[in-house]
Symmetry: C2
Subunit: 345 residues, 2 copies
């Protein structure tokens, strides 16, 4: 039985989902995979920071946050370290980086991830910012230190899409990847087909917690563009930046556009796409009218889907959740198990 | 660079697809994965049998079969060994078993696979017979000899479905797997929706090479039942036999049934299904009326699809080709790369 000691930066929704999975299934995962996942540090800007080399009970962490919104009630030999202090001092095997997403600067996550890699820790994150903005750099540091990067949760949350592409499809020759990678806009478009106008559909998405108060990142296609960059750079060997993505959001779509598509037997979807054209990688995010028979047309609500076009298999599509607390928490489990498999080589 | 010496039993469609992939992409795969795949023996009942420890050129094998239907023109130090002779004498790392499929006895493949495992060879096959009928036995022999079994091509041809489930979804807790796993019946049902009756649709499938002269295996659901057993035993820890599958084919479906579904906004699909119910594994194959909005309803023609229901991710669906020469050949590549990854652990 191997043990991975985990330091967590950020203990919001995803971090709590991860802790819940460990609380409910940790022993079962350990038996099945020979890997004991032990949280030894948690550092959260709002909830507090603590470190215990003997291990922190995930159920106790959850209970503390639920009752007080903070981690103060949990006994621990070290407290109050900030994120960089935690990374510098903790005795850990992997850093789980779950600070907030900034698709313009990638910070503070990039700084955290670099520091962890330099210390020889594996890094696992569901944060699109650093992976979309600086994956090639992070990968170089990781290779130099013989450690791994897990980023499964940055695209389609816990639906295994990056590892599906990397581990199971890459040898078939991936020439194009396209799909629905933003659940918020897909939900809004589904509601508009049911007769709502854009403003009402957006308000509904905000009420459900799908869209943020400032919805720009979703509705203007920045979130999808970040995911397209990640797909290009991790699965197609590109080194694109955000500016390389030809990006159009859904805000200009009118109820008339939606109705016209419906009466033509079609449906609007915000499609992220990356493809190899004459040896060059071309990337885009734009509203696309798909015939109803298209496999991506029937993907409704907050579900995500990606179609990989390959030389040997033609099209292979994966459909699954694109968000959710346990779902995204599972992405971290999937990455840690994959790193464990790889490290035993 | 590691080298895997491969002995092939059977050089029909799938074997030739595999050889074509090696001829076109062998060096590229070797560079990308550090694995040199070298065919050292081919034994085919009709085309002849030869063995060359120095390696057989896959392009030359294909050219010989194309020009003469046989392998006689290729120089080789050993010729004329039968299947068991080849397995007993060849100096190889893996056996690729591609003899014909018999879902009643599993032979001659079971005998070939046992003999190879006993000699310490990995086995890789796209043949449902032995995997559906005797996987637990074969796995025990493989474990005893420290070798691996690859069976990706037995379900959904080269679409990575078994490894997707085993390597990327299993930790999410698979509770049910259901889907369209027989392309022939799905093609017939799609044609019946377009207005054909069953007899005409079957004749069309036979003309296209999708259905065999005796279509019983497909239309009565035996092929799908074999795949359901494989999914249950490889992904859900069951040890079902064929008789445990509650099986109904599509032969009783009438044009009236099809029309009635259509006017109710639904569609008939032959659904293979395995699920865990109160700790017991229940398996079935039966025509099922799905609402059009169901993710499996839009999977038409010879395409296959599987939906995995999991504790942590809910439903995750994979859609891809269910047949084809290169597609099924890719399943062997996918398995050999996975075995190579595992062996380096």
């Amino acid at each position: 039985m191997d043990t991975y000691r985990l330091a967590m930066i950020g203990f919001g929704n995803v971090g709590q989902g991860f802790a819940q999975i460990l609380a409910e299934r940790g022993p079962q995962l350990a038996r099945a995979y020979g890997l004991n996942l032990k949280i030894v540090a948690v550092c959260d800007l709002l909830k507090g920071s603590l470190c215990d080399p003997a291990g922190l009970d995930p159920a106790a962490l959850l209970a503390a946050v639920q009752s007080s919104g903070r981690l103060d009630s949990i006994p621990a030999p070290h407290r109050g370290w900030d994120a960089l202090g935690t990374i510098a001092k903790v005795d850990a095997d992997a850093l789980i980086e779950l600070s907030y997403t900034d698709l313009k600067t990638g910070e503070p996550a990039i700084t955290h991830l670099r520091a962890a890699l330099e210390r020889g820790l594996h890094i696992v994150t569901t944060n699109k910012g650093p992976i979309a903005l600086c994956y090639p750099d992070l990968k170089a540091i990781a290779d130099e230190h013989g450690v791994e990067i897990g980023a499964e949760g940055t695209v389609m949350s816990g639906t295994p899409s990056l590892r599906f592409g990397q581990e199971l499809l890459a040898a078939a020759g991936i020439t194009r990847i396209q799909g629905i990678v933003n659940g918020t806009t897909n939900y809004i478009l589904t509601q508009m087909e049911n007769g709502m106008d854009y403003t009402a559909a957006l308000a509904g998405a905000q009420a459900k917690g799908y869209a943020e108060a400032d919805p720009t990142g979703d509705v203007e296609g920045y979130d999808a563009a970040g995911k397209v960059v990640i797909l290009a750079n991790l699965l197609m060997g590109a080194s694109l930046d955000m500016a390389a993505v030809d990006r159009t959001g859904i805000t200009a779509l009118t109820p008339q556009d939606i109705a016209a598509a419906q009466s033509a037997g079609a449906r609007w979807k915000l499609i992220g796409r990356v493809e190899s054209e004459n040896g060059k990688i071309i990337a885009s995010v734009r509203p696309t009218r798909l015939p109803l028979a298209h496999p991506l047309a029937s993907v409704g609500g907050a579900t995500n889907a990606l179609t990989f076009t390959t030389d040997l298999l033609g099209d292979v599509t994966v459909v699954g959740p694109g968000a959710g607390r346990l779902e995204t928490g599972y992405a971290l489990i999937c990455d840690l198990l994959a790193i464990h498999r790889k490290q035993r080589q």
